[in-house]
Each structure stands twice: as structure tokens, then as C-alpha cells.
Amino acid sequence: MEKIIEGLAYVLGNDIDTDQIIPAEHLVYSLSDPEEKKNYGRFALSGVPGDQAGLPNGNVPFTEGENFESKYSIVVGGKNFGCGSSREHAPACMEIAGVKAVIAQSYARIFYRNSVDGGFFIPFECDTRLVEDIKTGDDLKIDLNANTLTNKTRGKTYDLKSLGEVIDIIEAGNIFEYARKSGMIAS
């Protein structure tokens, strides 16, 4: 597991639901076909209303045109990130777009669980309301050893909450690798 994650920030508000992360009309593509699944990256976060997309200014597209990869690899959110449906297409589309980590004040349960069990990216929590401190495009660095986030653009460092018991699944890679390691399923 990478101990340092670096990337540009894409900032969103509270209650980013799964219909905003990936609108239902796009849930038809295959997640296993390597070419077809790129559509998920292309439409990742495409349901976020314009004025809320890429705070503080808004109207910043997460991916541009036909591109399926985003130049932003760390998503910063407010409270209740990923609420709504259980669609795993939500964390999956963000991973396909190149997201390495999300840092939110809190998560909806199923989204959090899907991110961890599927090994899509690491969902960090931070008590500070980063949405007001960090601007879309800021250069961020997460240090997993120290459990900190540094905003290199603004020279500020924040403590992240401990990942708790799910660290074992995150370190193993996903729930299957975890179960193999612990002998629950045959390797």
C-alpha cells in the first residue's frame, strides 16, 4: 500500500449523493469490459449541479470532453458523502477517473463500505471542514504514516482520523484478499 498519496484537489459540498456521482442513465455500461468501463470515468461526478462542481467557484468539470481520466485525484467533500443508492458504480467511476483518495467530514455507510471492500480508493475522514479551507486545484499530500493531510499550495497541515479496523482490509487490497489472508477463503 502506498504510504504517500499526492494529487490535485477537487472540492465538493455536503450530501453528494450517488445520483450526482454517477447519474442512473449511465449505469448500463459494463464494469468488466476495459474499454466500455471508461464511460464511467467520463461521466464521473457529472450529476453534480454546475454551481457546486469544483468549489469555491463551481462550474469546473471533473473530466473534460471525451476524457475518462481526471486531472484531480483527491476529492474533498463535506458531510454525508456518497449518500443514496448502493451502486458500486459510484466509487468505481471515481477510481476509473483516477481518484486515489477521498477526504470527507463523514460518509454514507454503503458508499464507505463499497470503497473499502472493493479497494477503489481510501476514504479518509477529517474533523476539520476542509471544504472551506481547500480550493479546487490545490496541491495536496496525504501521509498515511503520520495520518496527515498537507495542502502544499497553502502550506497548511491537518490531522486525519484513524482508519480504524478497516485498515486491515485496505492494506490487504480488498475484502477478498483480506479473507484469503485470514484463511476464510482458500487462496
Binding site: 450526482q20 454525508n80 443508492s85 448502493s86 458500486e88 468505481a92 454514507a108
Partner: protein, 433 residues
């Protein structure tokens, strides 16, 4: 220390005498449900992890109900149904309800109940967040993603963090014009869209126990809109009557202990409840119907796992009978069984179907339809800045199709009364007439 019903069911399925909130446990799964949107991804992960020729852990415990994108020309959506068929064939699965056959059912959460898969005391997971609906039967049920579902397919087990429980008690009797939908919107408005995150929402009180199974399902259905892990109501005679008409499978009834520990407890007086809407764009944006009567509407939508059951259409028909709707009104039965009942059930000698047609409403086929927008050709999907009153469960931006549309969530009574006037309308006087 006593345990809540949720804790008892989880403990029993983990082979433990007791569990406490926060414990991470592995539970044995009684039923795994998936549908056309999440089935294909689940099966792909299952094969990748357990092998191309791997078999599911128990054929009899897997239930596959296509319901989301059904009546569409979208080729990708239709291919997903083919993938379900192929997997069912390979695995020889007995519980599959294929599109285009007599066996087709419609919306999974109601179909699970109607086909006898909801049984007190059991543990049911589904690849859909409204799987919490099944908790109305005194069982533990919750929504999961494709990865967890694939894990269950291979092992029959899943890890669960035992949730804290919140208790919502309603004493007295709900007034005639109040439906379970008003009750759940009221509670979500009180605690917020993350007010029950990671927690069980347990419904108690004599007012709740007087509700029918369909109304109880509505209460548990929207637990997820408050972030809840599960909704649950202890089973009683109403439950067992419903279950016994649909399955002979064994079940076990659990009760919360008197001294069980609740993270939160609130008692409401059922007699004082008022009709509630959730204003755009969040299910916790609560307002009394009486505060919104000046909102002009473009359409009404009555359907989904929340508001597309027989009880919901009986309520709507009671108001629409002999009158004309003033706005486009879409009627979408959740399942085939509900659709058949629309022909069978009569009010004053007139079938519900005739009541709706004569009122000028449009009738759709059973499926999720515009509850989640869906492909462009979906029945009832918003395509512009329409203002909609809907009996569904989510009014997030774009949920019913267009990001520009405004959705008010309401009970079937409120939706029907509003369809008759063209603006948000309190159903009280229509119902009590």
C-alpha cells in the same frame, strides 16, 4: 444488558449468544437479492475471485429480480438482462423472474415480500439501498455493493458492524388522511439525511402495529434516506398472516428486550401527525403540506417501492374516483401482482384501473421506471424543468431524469389531491369527505 431485535438477529446469525453495537462480526446470509443494474457487475467479480466455473454457495438462497431498466430500447440495459439470464442458466438458479415472461415481477423489494422471501428473524442482503424495506417483517436486511454481494455468492457470509439502534415510537392512531409516507418524511426531516448513519431504525408503538404490511414496508423502505443501516419492526400476527399466505418456510420471531440499549429514543403522538412533503432537493427538506399549498405543479407520479403498492393506489383511487386530474399524472404499479390488483380491486363497482383512466391518468408497466430517471425513453422521466409531486423516495438533483426538475416527495393521498388541483394540496378534506 438486554439486546434489541437487530442485535439478537445478528448474534444468532454469527453463532454468538450476544453482540454489542460496534462489534465486527461475520454473519451467515439467508437470502441474497440482486437486480439488473448490479447483478452483472456482481457476477463478474464473483467469477474473477472464485473462478470461471465456481458455483454459488447455495442456489436456493439467491434471488434475482430484474426491475430497474426494463421497458427501454437502450441496448446496454437490455444486454444486462441477457447477462442475468446467462448466469441463471450456468448456475441453474431457481429464483429468477425473467423479463418478457409470465414470471416477471417488477420492483425487487415488493417482489421479495410477495414471493415469500421476507421471513421474520432472517438476514437478507440486497444490491440495492432500499433493501431495508424487508425489515418490516422483523428481519435484518440492508443494501450492499457488488463486491460484498460477490463475496456472499462465494461464501454465504459477510462482515457486519453491529449498528446502534434508534427507537421511533408512535402511540395512538394515525388520522385517516395520514399515511406511512408522511410518518417517515416527518422523521427524516427531524433527524436529517445522515441522522441514522450506521444505525438501526426500529419502529415501535401501537400506531405502528396497527399498520398493514405494505405501510410498514414504507416506513422501513426509507431508512436509507436517513442514512440508516436497516429499518425494523417486530413481527406480529399481521406479519405472520402475510408470510403464511406466501411461503411455508420456517421463521423465527425476535423481540427487543425491555432493558435493551438505544442510542436514541423518541415518542410521537400519532394522532397529531400532519401531511408532510420533502421539498427539493433532499428527503430531509421537510415542510407541512399546508405550508406549500402555493406550489404549482406540472405532474404527479405515483409509483416505486415506496409508493407503488396496492395500498398506495387504493388511497390515490379513493381521491381520484369520478374526478379529472389537472396535470400529467403517472401511475406505475411496483409489481405485476399490484398491476393485477388494479384490475381486481374496485371502489363503488369501478376498478382502480378504470378510476385512473377515467380521471385522465397515464398507466405504466411495473418496474422502477422514472423513480431513478433511467434511460431517456423511460415512462414518466423528467426531461426539463418540470415541478413534480411524487410518491417515490429521493428528490436529489436529477434523480427523476432532468437536473432542472424539482421533485416534492409526498404520500399517495397528497399526490392524488394535488393532481386534482394542480398545486400542492392537503388531502385531509378529500379523505374525510
Amino acid at each position: 444488558m438486554g439486546m434489541t431485535i437487530t442485535e439478537k438477529i445478528l448474534a444468532a446469525h454469527a453463532g454468538k449468544d450476544s453482540v454489542a453495537p460496534g462489534d465486527n462480526i461475520w454473519v451467515d446470509v439467508d437470502v441474497l437479492m440482486t437486480h439488473d443494474v448490479c447483478g452483472p457487475g456482481t457476477f463478474a467479480i464473483f467469477k474473477k475471485q472464485f473462478g470461471e466455473n465456481a458455483k454459488v454457495w447455495d442456489r436456493d438462497k439467491v434471488v434475482i429480480i430484474p426491475d430497474h431498466f426494463i421497458f427501454t430500447k437502450d441496448t446496454h440495459a437490455n444486454r444486462n438482462i441477457d447477462i442475468l439470464r446467462q448466469f441463471v442458466k450456468e448456475q441453474d438458479l431457481p429464483h429468477y423472474y425473467d423479463v418478457g415472461t409470465d414470471n416477471y415481477k417488477g420492483v425487487c423489494h415488493l417482489a421479495l415480500a410477495q414471493e415469500g422471501f421476507n421471513r421474520p428473524g432472517e438476514v437478507l442482503f440486497g444490491t440495492d439501498s432500499h433493501t431495508s424495506t424487508s425489515g418490516a417483517f422483523g428481519m435484518f436486511s440492508t443494501g450492499i455493493g457488488n463486491t460484498d454481494a460477490a463475496f456472499i455468492l462465494g461464501t454465504g457470509k459477510l462482515w457486519v458492524k453491529v449498528p446502534e439502534s434508534m427507537c421511533f415510537e408512535f402511540t395512538g392512531t394515525f388520522p385517516d388522511h395520514i399515511m406511512a409516507k408522511d410518518v417517515i418524511l416527518n422523521v427524516i426531516g427531524d433527524i436529517g439525511v445522515d441522522g441514522a448513519t450506521y444505525r438501526a431504525m426500529e419502529w415501535r408503538g401501537d400506531a405502528v402495529m396497527k399498520l398493514s404490511m405494505e405501510e410498514r414496508m414504507t416506513l422501513c423502505n426509507m431508512a436509507i434516506e436517513a442514512g440508516g443501516k436497516n429499518g425494523i419492526i417486530e413481527a406480529d400476527e399481521t406479519t405472520t398472516d402475510y408470510v403464511r399466505q406466501r411461503t411455508d418456510a420456517p421463521y423465527k420471531i425476535y423481540h427487543s428486550d425491555e432493558d435493551a440499549n438505544y442510542f436514541f429514543k423518541k415518542t410521537y403522538n400519532a394522532d397529531e401527525m400532519e401531511p408532510i412533503v420533502a421539498k427539493p432537493h433532499s428527503p430531509d427538506n421537510k415542510a407541512k403540506v399546508s405550508e406549500c399549498e402555493d406550489v404549482k405543479l406540472d405532474r404527479a407520479y405515483i409509483g416505486s417501492c415506496t409508493g407503488g403498492k396496492l395500498t398506495d393506489f387504493l388511497a390515490a383511487a379513493r381521491l381520484l374516483k369520478g374526478k379529472k386530474v389537472q396535470i400529467d399524472t403517472f401511475i406505475v404499479p411496483a409489481t405485476r401482482e399490484v398491476e393485477e390488483d388494479l384490475y381486481k380491486e374496485k371502489i363503488g363497482g369501478e376498478s382502480l384501473v378504470d378510476i385512473f383512466k377515467n380521471a385522465g391518468a397515464y398507466l405504466g408497466e411495473p418496474s422502477c421506471a422514472a423513480c431513478l430517471g433511467g434511460p431517456k425513453d423511460t415512462f414518466g422521466r423528467t426531461d426539463d424543468n418540470q415541478v413534480v409531486i411524487s410518491t417515490t423516495n429521493r428528490n436529489f438533483p436529477g434523480r427523476m431524469g432532468s437536473k432542472q426538475s424539482y421533485v416534492y416527495l409526498a404520500s399517495p393521498y397528497t399526490a392524488a389531491a394535488s393532481a386534482l388541483t394542480g398545486h400542492i394540496t392537503n388531502p385531509a378534506e378529500f379523505v374525510n369527505n
